[in-house]
Symmetry: C2
Subunit: 253 residues, 2 copies
């Protein structure tokens, strides 16, 4: 799209009507050598995927279902900060396009009024010491008039929250431009610059009461800060601090 100017991200956009999942298509393109900045967009995903093998509800022509291929010359250990970078970019794009108050729940769920409007699934193809490609899959609930009943306590759409429809094309262009900016910010200034932006955008960064899910039952804690590698530092109620590098948290009210 000409609105993207000299953006590397989106120089090549592949548009599909129906796919299993945009990340699946993108990973296949990675194997075929697709260059940095290749973007896969679909109107509908019949097997949209989220983290932890969850599905992503992908109502036809209502949401943005996009995957972006990046080829950074970085080690695999930087993948967490790349996914937080995507959260910061999506936060900025949705905020400026809609004016809605958007929050980020660690690591990278975007919430409006405490409900999810955007999810991010990062997958990578790597050697042991080198990322070959990162695929950022981003799903945004834009013009859904209502969410399925099993989701409507935890998920919402921009239209439901804003009371009006929004242009998907406009939000997508804003998203791709923001990804380009934040990607270069990360390369130029490192993870600390991304962590600072994330901290400014998220109420979960500091002083939030949360519950950490875990195989051994989970625990409650208070957030301390986001570290430059993307880990969330938390303080347990007995005073011990630890850094969460993966997993899921929920707010405790």
């Amino acid at each position: 799209r000409h609105e993207l100017g000299d953006n590397e991200i989106g120089r090549k956009i592949m548009h599909y009507f129906r796919v299993d999942s945009t990340n699946g298509v993108a990973l296949k393109l990675v194997g075929e050598g697709a260059p940095h900045g290749t973007v896969v967009v679909a109107e509908e995903q019949i097997a949209g995927r989220g983290r932890f093998d969850r599905t992503w509800y992908s109502e036809k022509s209502s949401g943005i279902y996009v995957s972006v291929i990046l080829r950074p010359a970085l080690p695999p250990s930087t993948a967490p900060i790349l996914t937080l970078m995507a959260a910061v970019a999506a936060h900025q794009a949705i905020s400026t396009s809609t004016g809605l108050p958007v929050d980020i729940r660690w690591p990278n769920d975007l919430l409006v009024d405490g409900k999810k409007v955007c999810g991010i699934l990062t997958e990578m193809n790597a050697e042991v010491d080198r990322l070959n490609a990162v695929v950022l899959g981003i799903g945004i609930n834009v013009n859904h008039s209502e969410m399925p009943s099993e989701l409507n306590t935890v998920a919402t759409s921009l239209k439901i929250e804003g009371g009006r429809p929004y242009s998907r094309a406009h939000i997508l262009v804003a998203l791709l431009k923001e990804l380009e900016r934040k990607y270069h910010l990360l390369l130029d200034e490192g993870g600390v610059a991304i962590a600072r932006r994330w901290t400014a955008a998220s109420t979960y960064a500091t002083g939030k009461r949360i519950r950490v899910a875990s195989n051994s039952g989970g625990f409650q804690a208070t957030t301390v800060c986001l570290e430059p590698n993307g880990a969330l530092r938390v303080r347990r109620d007995d005073g011990r601090e630890e850094s969460l590098v993966s997993g899921a948290i929920i707010e405790v009210k």
Copy 2:
């Protein structure tokens, strides 16, 4: 092959005459959902790949060119020890099949008489906090009568070193059985068990004078030990110690 008994690794073996690279084929199969233990074997690779974008010389029907798909429920940070596990398995398979004295150069080159007979390229498909699949690509120079002139100071074959040809099928079966054993050892006892086996098999583990290649020019050091995560601990000549997590080293004589 029936000789593999109830090995999970090799339950499905796909044999090709000519491929670009066995890892490329395996990564494509990963995307299509190929199960743990799927094995890709080729008679010839026309674009065989090694680490650092190097090529792997793959003379037709003379070597073993194999890729193994593993699907461990482990985080991406365990990939280095998985690749060392492959080196230990290949070391054992080649030693017992040929009786030749095999060494391992960190992280995972197999040497006979100081020259390379086997290389390993590990690639992975992962989410930020979870390995989806690991592809272990293993190339072994078996029955090459001579190596190309540009390689013959750094590479050799089992036949050149042993003075007789060896059965590729026999070595491959031994390799797949050893991979199965060492994989379960890793899952059951952790990286420390693999590090111990690696240390017993490699003259590079302790007290070896090496040169570390680096973008900023490199330096000389003496090896101290292999850590359970796969990093090589070294002592610089000024006494400072550090852990190498990736890269390449050479012996200093």
